[in-house]
């Protein structure tokens, strides 16, 4: 089963677990599995239309899903999916 790495700031919604194992066959299914199991996560990852928020990036392995098939990107048992918040700022 594929593994999702939970970013540190969102681990309070996963009982402090750093990873989540999913049976999802696509990124969309995997995220749905994650946010259904840990429903406090949903509003931080998905917008009102259930799309991935613009300031959240999803990587499959080392690749941004926006360069693949977006949330229809297929995942396998050996896939590592990363949820990545935008980090930026300045004075």
């Amino acid at each position: 089963m594929a593994q999702i790495i939970i970013p540190t700031p969102l681990r309070k919604f996963t009982n402090n677990e750093s990873t989540f194992t999913t049976k999802g066959a696509t990124v969309k299914e995997a995220i749905a599995d994650l946010t259904t199991t840990h429903n406090g996560l949903a509003k931080h990852i998905l917008d009102d239309q259930n799309n991935i928020r613009t300031f959240i990036r999803i990587y499959v392995g080392d690749d941004d899903i926006n360069t693949l098939e977006k949330d229809a990107t297929a995942i396998s048992d050996s896939t590592v999916v990363s949820i990545i918040p935008a980090i930026a700022g300045g004075c």
């Binding site: 540190t8 990545i84 700022g89 300045g90």
Partner: protein, 163 residues
């Protein structure tokens, strides 16, 4: 909104909230890395990840610089690439440590969290800001976001060997 107004707003908001944590200890080796990065990057902003442990007090044990990937003028902006962030989370898992926050510099500006910092901040993380004035680190402050993301509160920073 300028920094003074923003800080006043944050202070007013803070009075209505309860803080989960309010102290952060930065070990000398981590501070040294941040100071060196800030000075060498001046007049541009630099940035990096902060790792450590958390019991009663959040303790920063390791600072790791990363490339400021902001395109264009980096004197007042920083950005960390998604790939760098992904590697930082993996590093933490592989090394049994915790990614506790991000540092960056404010060249020729105070170490006050700005509206740009607030716009993309995440709860839980400590945002350590070093004010670098004329290529010298002048001040170090740390900021943390309330859970509802409306404002930062300032953490009490405990430093050793800072002068």
């Amino acid at each position: 909104m300028n920094n003074t107004q923003e800080s006043a707003n944050a202070r007013e908001y803070k009075n209505t909230r309860t803080r989960a944590h309010d102290k952060i200890k930065i070990l000398p080796q981590a501070l040294e890395v941040m100071q060196k990065d800030g000075i060498e990057s001046f007049p541009n902003e630099c940035c990096g990840f902060l790792y450590g442990s958390e019991t009663d007090v959040r303790q920063i044990e390791l600072a790791v610089p990363v490339v400021n990937s902001k395109e264009g003028d980096q004197r007042r902006r920083f950005e960390i690439s998604p790939l760098a962030y992904m590697k930082a989370e993996r590093f933490a898992i592989e090394n049994n440590t915790t990614l506790l926050g991000v540092y960056h510099t404010h060249p020729q500006h105070p170490a006050i969290a700005s509206e740009h910092d607030l716009a993309k901040a995440m709860p839980y993380f400590s945002y350590v800001i070093l004010s670098v004035i004329d290529a010298k680190v002048d001040d170090v402050k740390s900021w943390r976001l309330y859970d509802d993301k409306r404002a930062f509160y300032e953490e009490t920073v405990e430093l050793e060997n800072f002068s």
